[in-house]
Structure formats: structure tokens, C-alpha cells
Point group: C2
């Protein structure tokens, strides 16, 4: 099972983190991102969107880090990470949407500006961070984990770009419950760090 | 089962559309959005994010239209709309992420500016629309439906704000495969329209 990967990408890290926590072996293939390898054949045929990560599992090819988490957890990770009951899956999907939208367009995008020089509007990324992080902090004030009262792929999807927020100039000191949740994630058996977390 | 609803919201329409297609009865409760009813008790307790839709199904409360689709389809809609195999769910989740991010921040946000006067950067919403719609069109050039070769909640999540794109000044004429897919969705048994589609 191949993961086309960029070490500094939080979206790729979501997958590496979960695979480490669930003890799923991955063949991690580094991609020459700066050289645009993901925008050319053969990778562009695997993901026409020209983005990373890409997972290739036999005949199956998946773009989108949230979708890859669902596949890995459901197929190899066991029901603890992605249960089979739809109402429990829905509780997790709430956070997959949050990862895809609010976190991606808030702290993850602030980091893209500061660390990689992406031409995004920095004040907008900061405003979106200032919107989502208090909501996340309030949720974590009464919940140890994002969903189901235990670690799930919801945490793996949201954690990377929240933990990396300071790299985009978004400080986490105002959010004590987020900081404690970060510590809980780091204490999970098998936890894998990435530079910046 | 109560859906706290705003008729002109494409996110709420995702849920009403799917419920109509899958013949799931919903008690639709109109919310005084302009009056800020969703920002005050009792609704703010159901969804601290202060957004619509909100689904209340007995003890279960869900925010986020994608999560609501998963719950309704998995619990009441049958495997055609949300299968139980994780690799098939993952194929759908790719498009739930697309709905939550690229579509929400592209055509849906362009419409928020033009139709409701939201203070978003219109050129950015148009640029994001011009990025995602050709990718969607290319996918639909070789697929009748977004995932699994049949109508699923992937289509219900992406369709509303694509069909409503002209209300944000995003014309669909350059995307013939999207236009044909819109026609296929409209021809589904039980299809429910909304103003603007």
C-alpha cells in the first residue's frame, strides 16, 4: 500500500499519524513537491487534482486525506477508529468536514502563507482561525476526544494543522483545552511526530 | 425527526433533497435566520457553531450537512446511498470533503456575496470556483455520478451549490458535463427543487 507523501504536509501527516497509531504498514513514497512531480504524469493520472496525499491500495486510488482515513480505519484499523454504525460515523464526519473546511482554511492556510509563501490573504486565514479555535476549545473543555469519547480518525484529521498552527503565527496559548488535547494525542501509543508539532 | 432549516440555504437543501430522494420523512422547522434565531438559545445549545442545518433525531443532534447525510443515508436510506464497505464509503467521503471545502469556498461563497451581501472577497470565491468546476466537469465527462457509478450522498452534497452557482455570478455554460449531470439529478425519482436550481 503506497502513500505518495510530502513530509511537511499536514494532510499527508494525518495519514502517517493514523497509520502509526493503528499499526498499519505503509510504503511511504516521497514526492518532489517543489519540482511539481504531483502535477505531472504519472501522479496526475492518480490524482487529477494535483494534490497530496494519494493512497494506492491495490486497484484502489484515493485522493483527500479524510477519505484515506476512512478507508484505512474501516478496512484495516478496526471499529475503534471508524465504527460501523452510521450514527457514530456521522458524529465523526462532522469533524472530517471541520478538518476539510474550517481547519484547512484557517490555521492550515495561515501556515501556507508564513512557511511556504502561498499567495493567500493572511488576515482572512487569521480571522478564520480565530473563529474555529474557540469553538474547538469549548468542545474540548467537556470532551477528552473530538467524537465518541475515544480517539478516532476525527482526532487524526483535526490534530495536525491545529498542532502546527504556531507555524502560521496562530498561537495556541489562549486555548488551554486544545493544548491539553494535543498532549493527550501525543501520549497515544504509537504516536508519530512531524517537524513543527 | 426535526430539521432546523433555512429554505435559501444550500446546506439545508442538501438534506431536504436527500430526504426527498430516499423518501425519509422530516419535520422541517423553519428558522428565523435574519432574526438570528440560530445564534440564541435554544438553537445555539443544539449547535454551538450557530449554523444551519441542525438535525435532531431522538437523542441525537447533528450539525454539518455532510454528517447529516451520512446519518440519514446509513440509518434510513439503505446501502444504495451509503454502503457499508469502508472502501466504498471512502470514495464518497472524497466528495463530502469537496463539498465542505472547494464547493463551499468557491461557488457557495460567491453566492453568499451576491445574494446575501456577505463580506467575503468575491474575486477569491470566483478563482476557487474556476479551480474546482473544471475538475468536476472532467470527472463527470467519464462518470455519470460522482461516486460508485450510481447516485449517492456524494451527489446530494455537491449538487446544491453547483446548481446554484449562477446566483453567485458563476456561469455553468463552460461545463457541459456538469450541466448534463444536473439534468440527471433533476430526473431522479422524488427530486425536490429549491428556488434558484
Amino acid at each position: 500500500m503506497k502513500l505518495y507523501d510530502l513530509e511537511l504536509s499536514g494532510n499527508c501527516y494525518k495519514v502517517r499519524l493514523f497509520a502509526a497509531l493503528a499499526n498499519i504498514p505503509l510504503d511511504v513514497v516521497p514526492v518532489d513537491f517543489l519540482g511539481g512531480e504531483h502535477k505531472r504524469p504519472p501522479l496526475i493520472a492518480l490524482n487529477p487534482w494535483g494534490e497530496l496525499p494519494i493512497l494506492v491500495d491495490g486497484e484502489r486510488v484515493l485522493r483527500d486525506s479524510q477519505a484515506i482515513l476512512v478507508h484505512l480505519a474501516g478496512t484495516y484499523g478496526g471499529a475503534a477508529w471508524w465504527p460501523s454504525a452510521p450514527h457514530l460515523q456521522a458524529e465523526i464526519v462532522q469533524w472530517l468536514s471541520t478538518a476539510a473546511n474550517e481547519i484547512q482554511n484557517g490555521p492550515a492556510s495561515a501556515r501556507l502563507v508564513d512557511k511556504f509563501g502561498y499567495p493567500l490573504d493572511k488576515p482572512t486565514t487569521l480571522a478564520r482561525s480565530a473563529h474555529i479555535l474557540p469553538l474547538l476549545d469549548a468542545h474540548l473543555a467537556t470532551h477528552d476526544w473530538l467524537a465518541l469519547g475515544r480517539p478516532t480518525i476525527a482526532d487524526c484529521a483535526v490534530y495536525p494543522y491545529v498542532a502546527l498552527a504556531p507555524e502560521g503565527g496562530v498561537e495556541l496559548a489562549p486555548y488551554p483545552h486544545i493544548l491539553r488535547w494535543i498532549d493527550r494525542v501525543k501520549a497515544l501509543p504509537g504516536y508519530l511526530a512531524m517537524p513543527g508539532t
